[in-house]
């Protein structure tokens, strides 16, 4: 498998008023194509900061982020926007759909950034909506008119519309109840099985179990990587391996 994303000694500091806080203190790892990598850590460890740094949503202070064959850490804001639309898909904890347009238009708005063919975008969207089980009636509704689960599934469709190299998911089940959360995780598992590279941040062990690789972040640094192999719901050994990995790290 080829490396799709590499973080090399990534550092990030936040400054608020006169106080500074070093959130990432030198993170190193790489993600292979086809990975379902899960970034775990306790609250304040720097998980989300790392995710946004990897996806180009946030700048870093030093280090390198190599995405494919491009070093993206010095890209301008607009160049990064263009990069994101072509190579990245995002699934947020709060679905973050645009509130002034329908679900279908939310997906189309993302799709039209990469192609001028409306027909192509709508056709792709239709297939993806079918895959995530969102009916045509739901597609015409506004985000405020649908359930959290439906909105999150729509967010996944939006993330996939431009065939991204990597889907970045930040606590995708954080706002959902158990059953909706399971549905979302099943979807992510399915798209991973079809070859999609996913990087997901979570603090939920059940969600982490879906990944084939867990990267533990502690105090702004990589605290270890656990290779789990392909997801198998019934594989108890796999579950135990992950538990031990996390317990060793004080989880």
């Amino acid at each position: 498998m080829s490396t799709i994303l590499k973080a090399i000694n990534v550092k990030k500091t936040y400054a608020v008023d006169s106080r500074t806080q070093e959130v990432l203190k030198g993170v190193d790892f790489q993600i292979e194509k086809g990975d379902f990598a899960v970034i775990m850590g306790s609250s304040g460890a720097g998980k989300s900061t790392l995710l946004y740094a990897l996806s180009g949503m946030d700048n870093i202070d030093s280090g390198k982020i190599v995405f494919g064959d491009q070093s993206i850490e010095n890209y301008s804001a607009d160049k990064m926007s263009v990069f994101r639309r072509k190579h990245c898909g995002f699934v947020f904890q709060q679905n973050n759909l645009l509130d002034n347009m329908s679900i279908l238009d939310n997906v189309a708005a993302a799709g039209m950034l990469c192609t001028s063919s409306k027909k192509e975008v709508l056709s792709k969207a239709e297939k993806l909506f079918e895959k995530v089980n969102i009916s045509k009636e739901i597609q015409k509704k506004f985000p405020s008119q649908i359930s959290g689960g439906e909105a999150q599934r729509a967010g996944i469709v939006r993330a996939l519309i431009n065939d991204p190299d990597v889907v970045f998911a930040d606590e995708p089940t954080g706002s959902l109840d158990y059953s909706n959360g399971q549905v979302v995780l099943d979807l992510l598992t399915d798209i991973h099985k079809s070859g999609q590279t996913i990087i997901m941040v979570t603090h939920d062990i059940r969600s982490a179990f879906r990944g084939n690789k867990v990267i533990f972040v502690r105090d702004g640094m990589t605290g270890g990587i656990c290779e789990l192999g392909e997801y198998d719901e019934k594989d108890e050994e796999r579950k135990e391996k992950l538990r031990s990995f996390l317990e060793e790290r004080g989880w």
């Binding site: 804001a77 926007s81 947020f92 709060q94 509130d99 189309a108 950034l113 975008v121 506004f142």
Partner: protein, 780 residues
């Protein structure tokens, strides 16, 4: 109360830009209100004070001796309403010509001997140390607006002879200080000069001034009318007016300016209130979490609402205070320019109570409006404090322009969605732009009609007027003088046209008298019905019709020498002369009242491209035996218009400047609020790959309908409402139906300029979109 103030000051600390803008608007509103109200009330009061100080009479009448023969004097002296009447000997020179601001004017000149008569309603305000020979004292108005100084030569032309004097001093005279054409102007001569001057004339020029004091001042007009009705005036020339008429005339131009200022202040107030409501509503959305937190810890809805209301009341206090201070600073300059429009020293000052009252009224309005606007927060539940759900997600009913159905390019579709997503806010912006466009457009209409193509304005202001006005020689009278002068080379036509006084039901009115109204040139006078054509027909002023509750077809009576003469109303006229208390009669119609009437004044209309001055000189030379004098009326009108031009030019510049500043600030405020409202969506768009330029373009395109519609609606309002607006402003002067020219190219030009400025500003302000980063807590 303390906790409410705590919230209030917390609210104020936020949104400095909004607060500054509102405070600025309120400063302007207060400033304009104080200035306009002070002028309106102050000038009137000041004129009253000056009149009281000068012991000005309630009625002033002056005329040739015949007017005040013993029988006529007896009418006044035996009137129980008259407290006293003082008569003074004067020289009464009808149609004397003087030069004022470089223009020849025809006035009724009343010359008085210095200190040797009972008429003392004037005061010498400036005087040379050494009084020269041929000294004369003239109205201070000659210095303020007539370009005269002490020691300068002053010529009076009367009956083809020019009399030379030297200005020894300036006077202020309540009744005789004016120097407009057709009015009476007083001059004072030292006793020796007066006797020498008087000796040059026949007894025709001997006259009297009557200062009449009334017990009940409200009866002044009735007393005057009764006197003129009963008196045997014969062919005597005379002029008369009550104090109220004099005061209105003296303060007319400042009053117009004050009305315009006040109208602009009201418009600004409406804008400020609309913006306040908009800001409060926006803040309620943005601060819903904070509001719910406050409620959850124990603040009542009323406390929070009061904090909002107090916030804007405090802002009003600050803005109004600054406006009040500024009004004191600026007023002296305003007063000086107003001073030049009247002939009495108006020493007004802003009463400290005035800004305080204005401030309290504005504060009260803002308190009520902001309180009502903030009441919506009663619906915010304290539970929202605990909700982790996104609070900024709005509910929409309709998916405007779905991409699947849209034929527009992608970003244009996004702009349309954005436009309708903030429809109410855009509507507010559009309304404000419409109002500003209307104001600018209207001032342009005024400017065009007053300084570029003045015919329409002059038509309603001046009633009928010609290029040259000639006066028949009473000692060598020609019945067909009009025909004789019409046959002069260069003359297109000439008609007899008189302005006389008539009475009806205790009211004095001007009467315009001519043989055939079909030969008059002013089409704007009759706005309903037609001119009179028979001797039993009359057209009356619109204001008169309202006052007497008369319509076309009704009977209207005029009184003379105890008799009533009935006429049928054929039409309604409009003119600013006598504030709309005027009428039209045919010559035969007037002769029913005064059978010995002989018209004296000839209006001469010249052909195009005829030099009026050359025609005038030739006329005087050719017909010196037939006419006692002639003036270039066109020049006189231009001079009168000059004061209106400077008034409107000043307004145009200041209103334009203020409007552009307001637009800029308002756009900045509204767009900033819009950007903040859409902050979440913009962050999401950036996260999924929109560039700053793309978002900025969408925002810019979404504002295009706002800017364009605002300007177009404003332009349409100018087309549809500017004349109605003029009726409202000039209606008090007697102008009932303005028909000003709408200069379409100029209006279009100014609207295009406004749109360009608006779009430029939008483009500049939306630059801040580049600072929006895709990652924020609101997206977590």
């Amino acid at each position: 109360m303390r906790r409410i103030l705590l919230l209030t000051f917390a609210n104020l600390r936020r949104s400095g830009g909004q607060n500054a803008f509102l405070a600025f608007l309120i400063t302007l509103i207060t400033l304009f209100c104080v200035l306009s109200l002070t002028v309106m009330m102050g000038f009137m009061n000041c004129f009253d004070n000056a009149a009281e100080k000068a012991d000005a009479p309630d009625i002033f009448a002056a005329g040739q001796n015949e007017l005040f023969d013993s029988d006529n004097k007896n009418i006044i002296d035996t009137d129980s309403r008259v407290e006293k009447a003082v008569y003074s000997d004067v020289l009464y020179l009808d149609s004397a010509q003087i030069t004022f601001a470089g223009t020849k004017k025809s006035v009724t000149l009343i010359a008085m001997p210095l200190g040797k008569q009972d008429y003392m309603s004037y005061e010498i305000v400036e005087e040379m140390e050494d009084i020269p020979e041929n000294a004369i004292y003239v109205s201070r108005y000659f210095k303020e607006s007539g370009d005269y100084e002490l020691g300068e030569r002053f010529d009076i032309r009367y009956d083809k002879i020019v009399y030379h004097f030297v200005i020894a001093g300036f006077t202020e005279d309540i009744y005789l200080g004016c120097v407009h054409s057709g009015t009476q102007t007083g001059v004072v001569l030292p006793e020796e000069e007066y006797i020498e001057f008087a000796n040059r004339f026949s007894s025709n020029e001997n006259g009297k001034v009557a200062d009449i004091y009334i017990r009940d001042k409200a009866q002044a007009q009735a007393v005057l009318s009764d006197f003129l009705n009963k008196a045997e005036t014969g062919t005597s020339k005379y002029c008369s007016m009550t104090y109220d008429v004099c005061r209105n005339y003296a303060t007319m131009e400042p009053s117009i300016m004050a009305i315009l200022l006040l109208a602009f202040a009201v418009l600004l107030l409406i804008i400020a209130l609309a913006v306040t409501i908009y800001i409060i509503r926006g803040n309620l959305v943005r601060e819903v979490k904070n509001i719910s937190i406050l409620k959850s810890i124990g603040y009542s809805s009323n406390s929070i609402t009061l904090s909002f209301a107090l916030q804007y009341t405090l802002l009003t206090l600050v803005g109004a205070f600054i406006g009040g201070i500024l009004s004191f600073a600026i007023y002296s300059r305003i007063a000086d320019s107003m001073q030049s429009l009247t002939w009495i020293t108006i020493k007004t000052a802003i009463s400290p109570v005035m800004p305080l009252c204005v401030m309290l009224v504005i504060m009260g309005i803002f308190f009520i409006v902001s309180y009502l606007a903030a009441l919506k927060l009663r619906k915010v539940s304290p539970c929202k404090a605990f909700s982790s759900a996104q609070e900024q997600v709005k509910t929409f009913k309709r998916n405007i322009m779905p991409f699947s159905e849209s034929r527009l390019p992608f970003h244009a579709s996004m702009s349309v969605k954005m436009f309708f997503g903030s429809f109410k806010q855009n509507l507010l912006m559009m309304t404000v732009l419409s109002v500003i466009s209307f104001v600018l457009g209207y001032v342009m209409v005024l400017n065009y009609n007053i300084s570029v193509d003045t015919k329409k304005f002059v038509d309603v202001l001046m009633y009928e007027y010609a290029d040259i006005t000639a006066y028949a020689n009473p000692t060598n009278y020609y019945d067909d003088l009009d025909g004789i002068l019409a046959s002069e080379e260069g003359a297109d036509d000439a008609i007899f046209f008189e302005t006389l006084q008539v009475q009806t039901d205790g009211v004095n009115m001007y009467a315009y008298v001519t043989e055939d109204y079909g030969r008059t040139r002013n089409d704007s006078i009759v706005y309903d019905g037609r001119h009179p054509s028979a001797d039993n027909e009359i057209a009356i002023g619109g204001k008169s019709a309202e006052y007497f509750n008369k319509r076309i077809g009704d009977v209207f009576s005029l009184e003379s020498s105890g008799s009533k003469y009935e006429y049928i109303i054929t039409g309604l006229i409009q003119t600013s002369m006598d504030n709309g208390f005027d009428c039209e009669l045919t010559t035969e119609g007037y002769k029913r009242i005064n059978s010995s009437f002989k018209p004296n004044t000839v209006f001469i209309y010249l052909e195009d491209d005829v030099d009026a001055d050359a025609f005038l000189d030739n006329l005087i030379t050719e017909h010196q035996s037939k006419i006692s004098g002639a003036v270039n009326t066109r020049l006189t009108i231009d001079q009168t218009m000059g004061s209106y031009v400077s008034l409107v030019d000043g307004l145009l510049i200041s209103f334009s400047f203020i409007s552009v500043v307001i637009i800029w600030l308002l756009l900045y405020l509204l767009i900033k609020v819009q950007l903040r409202r859409n902050d979440r969506n913009f962050r999401i768009q950036k996260a999924i790959g929109f560039t700053s330029w793309q978002i900025r373009l969408e925002v810019f395109l979404s504002f295009i309908p706002v800017g364009a519609a605002g300007a177009v609606i404003g332009g349409l309002l100018v087309l549809l409402l500017s004349n109605r607006f003029s009726n409202m402003i000039f209606g008090t002067m007697g102008i009932m139906q303005a028909d000003f020219i709408i200069p379409y190219p100029m209006i279009l030009g100014i609207l295009l300029m406004l749109m360009t400025v608006t779009f430029l500003l939008i483009f500049i302000i939306t630059d801040r979109i580049k600072y929006i980063v895709p990652k924020s807590d609101s997206m977590m």
